[in-house]
């Protein structure tokens, strides 16, 4: 299994739970994949390094939660795609853009929620 797929599976677990989870809890949720505890820990570490998850200490264990909702990440990608971020840094090459004023508002709002 590729690392990217693992990261995605772990994020899906965290998003579906809605509450912070420990490494053990994530590993249990992915029991059908038969992943080693240390593998799950490594993946969570990587995700924390990329600021995709946030880590808090509860008792002796660390627990993890997504830094933002799945919808917020999609909104961020769409803002890049629709060139609404005001920067052209990602330099994507687009076919065409189509977005109504209200859609743009909703997307910007989603991004602010994520930042806040």
């Amino acid at each position: 299994m590729r690392l990217g797929d693992l990261e995605r599976a772990v994020m899906d677990v965290l998003w579906d739970r809605g509450t912070p989870a420990t490494v053990r809890e994530v590993a249990d949720a992915l029991a059908d994949r038969e992943l080693a505890y240390t593998t799950v820990m490594t993946v969570l570490d990587r995700l924390a390094g990329k600021d995709m998850v946030q880590r808090t200490r509860t008792g002796r264990a660390w627990s993890y939660r997504p830094a933002a909702s799945r919808e917020a990440y999609i909104a961020r990608l769409m803002l890049d795609a629709l060139e609404l971020t005001g920067s052209r840094d990602a330099a994507l090459v687009r076919f065409a853009r189509s977005v109504s004023g209200s859609e743009a508002e909703v997307l910007r709002k989603a991004l602010e929620d994520e930042a806040g």
Partner: protein
């Protein structure tokens, strides 16, 4: 001083050439030649901007910029400058070098920002985008707005939103996907990149921004042409039209020009598609810009 007059003339001609090429419309019928012209023109302008102050500053050496610069560095270390090498000439040499450093630094900075933003985008895509049999070879983002784009890189990724899937029929989507794959295969992001970097150096030079927009549009037209080779004109034009009419309000702030671009591309696909490519004009423009780019190179070396 003969070199100086060459470079000054090349710089002026390059600037006028950029203005001319921005306004030209033959370019729309031959986007590939026009893109090459723009690259040569950009190279010429950059080299002239570096070379002109150096050439004036190093005039006492009566040599090409390259050898003269080596001789100047040697004399500077030895502490014995030739007569006529005054302080203001030294200052001009410094200006030339600073322009060079600034151009290289801006390009590197722009590249680093771009790569970082793209990596972040790629990381997020890996977490939330999905494959979909409706869009073979592309990733799908579950969002109702319509977007189709290419994330360029060593392995370019084509992405469409769920809104695009519901907006377009199967043929239109296939045409859009080949358009995007053409962007990735021909690395159109690298074609536009130097102009983005130049806009960073001179943010208030309106003609540079106009040049970047012109190149961006040419790149879209080139990708349209690639898509037309694989599909008929109809689906591509249909897809453009649907994108153009899907938004309830005009283009939002920060995306100005997109509507005009759509109109120009539609015109090419629907109205002027039978006009022949402007072979003579394209050949003349290529020759002129090649001479412009060669001028500073020759004055640097001989």
């Amino acid at each position: 001083m003969v070199h100086v007059s060459h470079l000054a003339a090349a710089l002026a001609a390059g600037y006028l050439g950029a203005l001319l090429l921005t306004r030209s419309r033959w370019t729309w019928r031959s986007p590939r030649s026009a893109i090459v012209c723009w690259q040569l023109l950009g190279l010429a302008l950059g080299l002239c901007a570096i070379g002109l102050p150096l050439e004036i500053g190093l005039a006492p050496y009566r040599a090409a910029v390259g050898p003269a610069l080596v001789a100047f560095a040697r004399d500077l270390r030895a502490g014995a400058l030739p007569p006529g090498m005054t302080a203001w000439r030294g200052a001009l040499v410094l200006v030339g070098l600073l322009v060079g450093v600034r151009l290289v630094a801006a390009t590197v900075t722009h590249l680093v920002h771009t790569l970082r933003a793209r990596r972040r985008h790629r990381d997020l895509l890996a977490l939330v985008a999905r494959a979909d049999p409706a869009a073979p070879g592309a990733l799908v983002l579950d969002h109702p707005s319509a977007a189709a784009y290419c994330l360029p890189g060593m392995r370019s990724t084509v992405v469409v939103s769920a809104g695009t899937l519901s907006l377009l029929d199967r043929e239109q989507l296939a045409a859009v996907l080949s358009h995007e794959r053409a962007h990735g295969r021909e690395r159109h992001d690298l074609v536009v990149l130097p102009f983005g970097a130049l806009c960073r150096v001179l943010p208030f030079a309106g003609w540079l921004h106009a040049a970047r927009d012109a190149v961006s549009l040419l790149v879209e037209m080139r990708a349209d042409d690639r898509a037309r080779q694989a599909h008929t004109d109809g689906p591509l034009a249909g897809a453009l039209l649907r994108f153009a009419t899907a938004s309830a309000t005009p283009t939002p702030a920060g995306a100005l020009g997109a509507a005009e671009h759509l109109e120009a591309r539609m015109d090419r696909l629907v109205i002027s598609r039978r006009r022949r490519p402007p072979r003579v004009r394209a050949a003349l423009a290529l020759a002129a810009t090649a001479v412009l780019a060669a001028t500073p190179l020759i004055t640097f070396l001989s």
